[in-house]
Each structure stands twice: as C-alpha cells, then as structure tokens.
C-alpha cells in the first residue's frame, strides 16, 4: 500500500439544517485511481467542492500530502495541484485550443498579454493526444477531445490529483477506451485520479479503490479486489438488495403495434422493424448511431421518407400532437430542455400531454390537477415536498419520473424512451425500470433507446443494433446473449453470424 496523498478526517458539511456530509473519513492512495460512487444526494459533489475549495467545510480536516489543506477558492486548490474536470466542461468555445489551455496561465507583463505561449503546455497536450491541433477552435472539437484539452490544462498546472466528475457521460465506447488509456498513463506518472461515475461497469474496470457514500455518510472504502460484484456495490450504495437481470415480458408476436418500413433521412438508412404488443424493444448503439433519430421519426417530429404505421390509425404523424392522438408518447433524451418545464410545478407539468384529464371545455380544475399529480407521485414514487414544488428542485431521477408521469397520463399504447436513465442515480434507475416493466405488464409496449448495454440487456425482449444510422440486426434477448458480438456490430464490424 502506497502513501496517502489525500486524507479526509471526519469531514462534515451542513447546509441550513441538511447534513450533506456527516463524519466522512477515508484516505486516497497516491498514484491510484480512486472511484467515488453513490446515489444522487449521497454527498459526492459536496465532497468534491470541499476538496477544490468551492465550499468551506463545516467540520473535520483534509490532509494533502500530510499537511492541513484548506483552500479558500478553486484557484488556490488548482495552484496547489488539485485539478478538476467537471461534468459541464469549462472550455471557451470561441477560443482556440492553445488559448483555452493558457487561460489563467497567460504570460503577461503588467496585465498585458505577451505574444508567446507556454510551450510546456503543448508538450503535455501532445503527449495525451497528438491529433489535436493547438490552433483549432474548441467549438470544432468533439466532447471527448474537449475533455482532453481540459485535462491538458489540469496537467499543465502540475496537478497531482485530477478529479473527474462523470467524464464518460457523453463519450462513445471508443472514446471511453481512450480515456482509460490516458488515465493509466497518468497513474504511471504518479498522478492520482479521483473518479466519480454512475457507470458501475466502468468503475469495476477502472478502479484501484472504491469509496461508497450514502446519504452523506461514508459506507465503505475498499480495494477493487475485495469487491465481488455490481450487486454488492449497488447494495452498499442504496442499502437495498437489487434484483438485476432480464425478465421476459409476455409479448404477443401476433399483434403488431408499430410497423416501420424504410425510415430514411439525413441520418437514418432504411430502418425497418416491428413492435409487438406487450414487448419491450430496445435499440442499442454508440453515440451518433441514430437512436434519437429513430425515436423522433416515429414520434413524428422529424422528417423522414418511408412508412411508420401505428396500429389503429392511418396517415403519417407529422407532429407530437398527432402521435399522442395515435397513442404514442415520447420521453425525450434531454430532460432539462425537452422533458420538463423546470420553472413550473409538478402539478403543472403532469397534465401537459393530455389536458383533457384535468379540464372540461378548456377550463382547468386545479383540484383535479393536484389530485392527478399526487396519484402519479404515489404510483411511481416521486420524492418531493408536495405537488406544488417546482420541478427544478427535484433530483434528475425524480425529474425523469415527472416526464414519465406526463407520458403515462396520455394513456399511450406505445411508450418511447430515449436514454431514460441518463444522469439518474442507481436507486432511481431501478425504480424507472420497474415502472417500465409494470407498464408493459398492463398492456402497453415500450421502445427503449439507450447507449448503456446493461440497461438494454436488463430490460428488453428484442434488441436492435445500430451503427451509423443503419439497423444492422435485431437479436432476441437471452440469458447467454453474446455481448462481444453486440459490441463488434455496433462499432461497425461485419456480423459473421447470420
């Protein structure tokens, strides 16, 4: 066991009566990849903010290289060697790569910029990824490459500890692999990585040590060798036993709810499939493979050539309204910009797809609205103060449940779910899966579009694999389904098994 670079001793953080962190103590070994896991609200972000100096702690101490560490601001933490890559990237899009890297490190004389830039920084960048041209503008770079730029910035400031908060949320499998290579490289140089993620498969692959937080308390810190399985991790994170694994739904292949033939547009290439009654169909592919495009085409909000026939209705759906009338509802990909109206209350959001359920002849009944919201809050377990609470104060998982409630209120026969658990913590994920399964048992059918393979494998009866806008194959889900073959197909490989 190596020496400790960071030691948390009895850290507590109180916010107006809420104990965000309560007596948290653990140590981080220098040069290791230390993963921090926990549900939303467990205290991970709060801990990070204390480490980077964004928040002062209420009690306890942090030892950095055996010395008391109390940064008064993020700049001080950065200069001390603690760099942080946040979920929302801190790059300036309109500037070039080199300008971004030097932000805050510019060579100046009395505040006026000198012409030359720091060459050390470019060495750093080149070492991580030599395909990035420092003269490029950030806005031309993909999310993965922007992350590399931020990393270079952190390294250029001689960081000893790099904190990464949900770094793989917007990355493709290939980019994730590259990131892991970079992390391994950083460890070799003696840099410590503190990695926060909801993606347990990644954590299991990447971590040397795992720390679990729950409700602000420290549950455990163990080396990866001592952790048996995902189940064990989830149990520590939620305090509950989770049954994972695919349970087949009673699908009726004789009844087809949706027939899609030759859907083509700028992104999609002749996608055809059927959706049967009582089944959960899944679409899996990497970022950009066309999942959202298929969802939006079926929902009628994007143009396409080809046919989508929904059982019991004629004509192409050219609007969300028309699709809702046909009994198709969509839980969109981006919760905040497409799913919920954050400044409005839960009660105002729930009836949005079907105002008739709370009104008569255009006159709203606030009583019916409140009752409807409370029914859904109870039925799908939305954690909140009351139905008049603004949706913006709910956690990601609960916000997603509000979106689902909104869709359920439209009594759909088909529910489309685009990345239904993105940015949602483990406990809420399982709750959402349970909701989907319950829905299908009651006669609805569902199509799940996801870039998380375990999610697809755990939920879906049949799985459509996408690559570059093409539906390559639809597989039946079984207990011994071949994940390797799936990965091969979605990364563009030729499927030999046919």
């Amino acid at each position: 066991m190596g020496e400790y670079i960071l030691e948390m001793k009895n850290i507590a953080k109180y916010f107006a009566g809420v104990k965000a962190l309560d007596d948290v103590s653990f140590n981080i070994v220098k040069g290791s990849c230390h993963c921090l896991v926990g549900e939303n609200g467990a205290g991970k972000s709060t801990l990070i903010k204390i480490l980077t100096g964004a928040h002062p702690k209420t009690k306890g101490s942090v030892l950095y290289n055996k010395k008391e560490f109390n940064p008064t601001g993020t700049r001080e933490a950065m200069q001390a060697g603690i760099g942080c890559l946040f979920q929302e990237l801190n790059v300036v899009e309109q500037l070039r790569v080199e300008e971004n890297i030097c932000l805050g490190l510019e060579e100046t004389r009395f505040g006026v910029l000198r012409g030359k830039s720091n060459t050390k920084v470019f060495d750093v960048l080149r070492r991580i990824d030599d395909t990035i041209d420092p003269r490029q503008y950030i806005e031309e770079l993909s999310v993965a490459k922007r992350q590399v730029v931020e990393m270079a910035k952190a390294l250029a400031m001689d960081s000893n500890v790099i904190i990464m908060d949900e770094p793989t949320a917007s990355l493709s499998e290939e980019e994730v692999r590259r990131l892991f290579e970079i992390i391994a490289d950083l460890k070799k140089q003696g840099i410590t990585i503190l990695y926060i993620s909801h993606r347990l498969e990644e954590i299991m692959k990447l971590a040397d040590y795992i720390t679990v937080l729950r409700d602000g308390k420290h549950i455990a810190t163990r080396p990866i060798s001592e952790i048996e399985s995902r189940q064990e991790l989830i149990q520590m994170m939620t305090g509950k036993v989770i049954v994972e694994g695919y349970i087949p739904n009673a699908a009726d292949t004789s009844q087809t709810l949706i027939e899609a033939r030759g859907i083509s547009n700028r992104k999609l290439k002749k996608v055809s499939f059927d959706l049967h009654k009582g089944e959960i169909l899944g679409f899996y592919g990497l970022v950009g493979s066309g999942k959202t495009e298929i969802a939006r085409a079926i929902y009628g909000v994007d143009d396409y050539e080809g046919e989508v026939v929904v059982k019991g209705s004629l004509g192409k759906s050219r609007s969300a309204r028309r699709s809702l009338q046909k009994g198709v509802a969509l839980v969109p990909e981006e919760r905040r910009t497409q799913g919920v109206c954050t400044s409005l209350s839960i009660a105002s959001n729930t009836p949005m797809m079907n105002y008739k359920s709370v009104s008569e002849k255009g006159i709203l009944s606030k009583m019916k609205q409140g009752r409807l919201a409370r029914e859904y809050m109870k039925a799908i377990g939305i954690a909140c103060r009351n139905e008049n609470q603004s949706v913006m104060y709910l956690s990601g998982g609960n916000q997603q449940k509000v979106v689902i409630a909104k869709c359920l209120n439209a009594s759909p026969q088909v529910l489309l779910l685009d990345e239904p658990t993105r940015g949602v913590d483990v406990g809420a994920k399982q709750e959402i899966y349970a909701i989907i399964r319950e829905l299908v048992k009651k006669g609805c059918s569902a199509i799940v579009f996801s870039s998380e393979l375990p999610e697809i494998l755990g939920l879906c009866d049949r799985i459509g694999l996408l690559y570059d806008g093409e539906l390559k194959v639809i597989l039946q889900n079984t207990a011994d389904i071949d994940s390797e073959r799936i990965m091969h197909i979605v990364t563009g490989g030729v499927d030999v098994e046919r």
């Binding site: 981006e334 400044s343 949005m352």
Partner: protein
C-alpha cells in the same frame, strides 16, 4: 392557505402599493382621497390595465409585444376616419378593433411559425401600425368632421367614467383566463420550456398567435377609447405605451423570460405607477424629475420582488 412564491410576491407589491397610497394621503389628505382624484388615477391607468392584461400573457409565453402603442394609435385614427366617412360609430369601433386584431394575429403568426424573435417582429409592426396612423391623420390629428356621438364610448355613466368599467371587466376576464384555462397553462409551458411544450403536443403556433391576437384587440380597443374620450383621433397617441405595459407586468412579478406572472400582479403594478405619477403631479414635480423617480422606484421594486422570490423555495 398555502403561500406560493407568486402569492407572496403579489402580497409584497400590494404592500408597496398601500405604502405609496398612504404617502399620498399624508402629503395631501383632502386632495388625494377625493373622488375626482381617484377617478383620475383610475382613468389614466385604465389604458395600461386593459392592454397589459394581454401583454402579461405575451410575456408569460416568453415573447415581447412592442407594437401595442402603434396598434393603439392606428386603431384610434382608423376609428376616427371610418366615423368621419359616415360609417356608424359602433361599426367604426368594431372595424378599428378588427384591424388591431389582424395586426396582432399576423405578428404572432410570423413569430411562432417562422421562429423569429418577437422583439424585432413586434417592433416592425409598431412601425407599420404607427405609420398607418400617421398616414391616416396626415401626421397630425383628426378633429373636424367627426360625428357627434364619437365620444359615446368614453363618456361618464352614473358618475363612473366608462373606461374604468372597461378596465374592470377586461381584467376580470383575463384574470380568469390566466388562472383557470388550459390555454393559459399552455402559455406558461411555452414560456418555461418551448422545447418541452412542443414535444408534449402543445400547438405553440396556435397559442402564440392567439396571445398576440388578443393583445392586438386590447391595444386597438384602448386606442378607440382614447379617441372617444378626447373626441380627437391623434396619430401621435400612446407614445411609449409598450413600455408602460411591460413595466406594469414586470412590477407585478411577470418574468421577462417567460413562464411566470399574474394578471392581478400587473394591475397592482399599473396602479403603483398610476398613483406614483399622480402624487408627483400633485407635488408639482416636473416631468423630468418624475421620470427619474419612476425609474428608481422601478429598480427598487424589482430588486425587492426578486429577493422575495429567492427566499421562497417552493
């Protein structure tokens, strides 16, 4: 009774309003509370209350309507022109309001169907409508040749000037709309998150066009009533009217970015400005000083509003 953020905000500005009234009373006890003065205040505020009832809904959808002054002037002038040309007074008024309705509908349609910024489009319509007013009145006013009953709509009935009655009726209607209709819920949804509203099947083009159309009707009606009150069709009437409407709404807690606001709050906002102006007139302050005071009060009221809003985390 549950106290919502909106409720608390309305209570706050009601409090501010009462404070200002008390100040006015203390400064000139007999003058301020006289029925003549109250009537004055209400009549001068009626234009704002009538039109801002619609403007509040426009703001709730996240849009701006800068055309209301121009549309009001246009309708006032057209009213005079039609009446002068021999069209019965009642019909002239209706036609003028229809023109305002068309103007509003067109701007709302363009804004929502083509996804163009409402600031620019409504500004453009302000110039179009205002220009029509100027053309109609030859750049000045129409006073000669108007029929005798031109003032009918603006007269006093049983001691109460009709404009006050219009204002009350209209704000009651719009308070009902804003509080109790699916249409208003859709407005809030659109203003809060246009993307989510669209994906939820809300007909955004329909709702936004309607909200602008309603405002066009109200603005036109305001113009007609002003022509009636003064028996003169003035092409330069209602300068800066759009500002007054927006100020009343924002003072009343309407968020300029959309998704929040009440008609009741707007009324208090309009009355605050009305009473403030009245007091300053009573004190004999010059218009220049009045502007400065108005601006300062506006900033203070909005800061107070926002602070209260942040404290109530519902």
């Amino acid at each position: 009774m549950k106290l919502t953020a909106d409720g608390l905000q309305n209570l706050t500005i009601l409090g501010i309003f009462i404070v200002i009234c008390v100040v006015g009373f203390l400064l000139e006890p007999s003058l301020f509370i006289s029925s003549a003065n109250i009537s004055n205040i209400l009549v001068s505020t009626s234009s704002t209350i009538i039109t801002a009832s619609g403007v509040t809904l426009v703001l709730i959808t996240g849009n701006l309507d800068l055309s209301v002054g121009g549309v009001g002037a246009m309708a006032g002038v057209l009213f005079g022109l039609f009446a002068k040309a021999g069209v019965p007074m009642g019909l002239s008024a209706v036609l003028a309001v229809l023109c305002g309705m068309l103007c509003g509908f067109l701007s709302g349609l363009i804004i929502s169907a083509l996804n163009l910024p409402s600031f620019i489009i409504s500004l453009a319509f302000k110039y179009i409508a205002g220009g029509i007013a100027l053309i109609g009145a030859g750049g000045a006013i129409i006073s000669a040749g108007l029929p005798g009953n031109i003032g009918h709509l603006g007269r006093v009935v049983l001691g109460i000037p009709l404009p006050i009655v219009y204002a009350i009726v209209i704000f009651l209607i719009f308070m009902f709309i804003q509080n109790k209709t699916v249409f208003a819920s859709q407005c809030y949804a659109i203003g809060s998150n246009m993307g989510a509203a669209k994906l939820s099947g809300i007909g955004t083009v329909r709702v936004v066009s309607t909200v602008f159309m309603l405002t066009g009707i109200l603005a036109a009606f305001t113009g007609v009533v002003i022509t009636a009150r003064f028996s003169v069709a003035d092409s330069g009437v209602l300068p800066g009217f759009e500002n007054d409407c927006i100020i009343a709404a924002v003072l009343g807690g309407t968020d300029i970015n959309g998704g929040r606001g009440t008609v009741f709050g707007m009324i208090i906002g309009a009355l605050i400005v009305g009473v403030l102006t009245n007091i300053m007139n009573m004190l004999g302050l010059r218009i220049y000083t009045q502007n400065v005071v108005k601006g300062v009060v506006l900033v203070l009221a909005i800061v107070l509003n926002n602070t209260i809003r942040k404290k109530v985390k519902v």
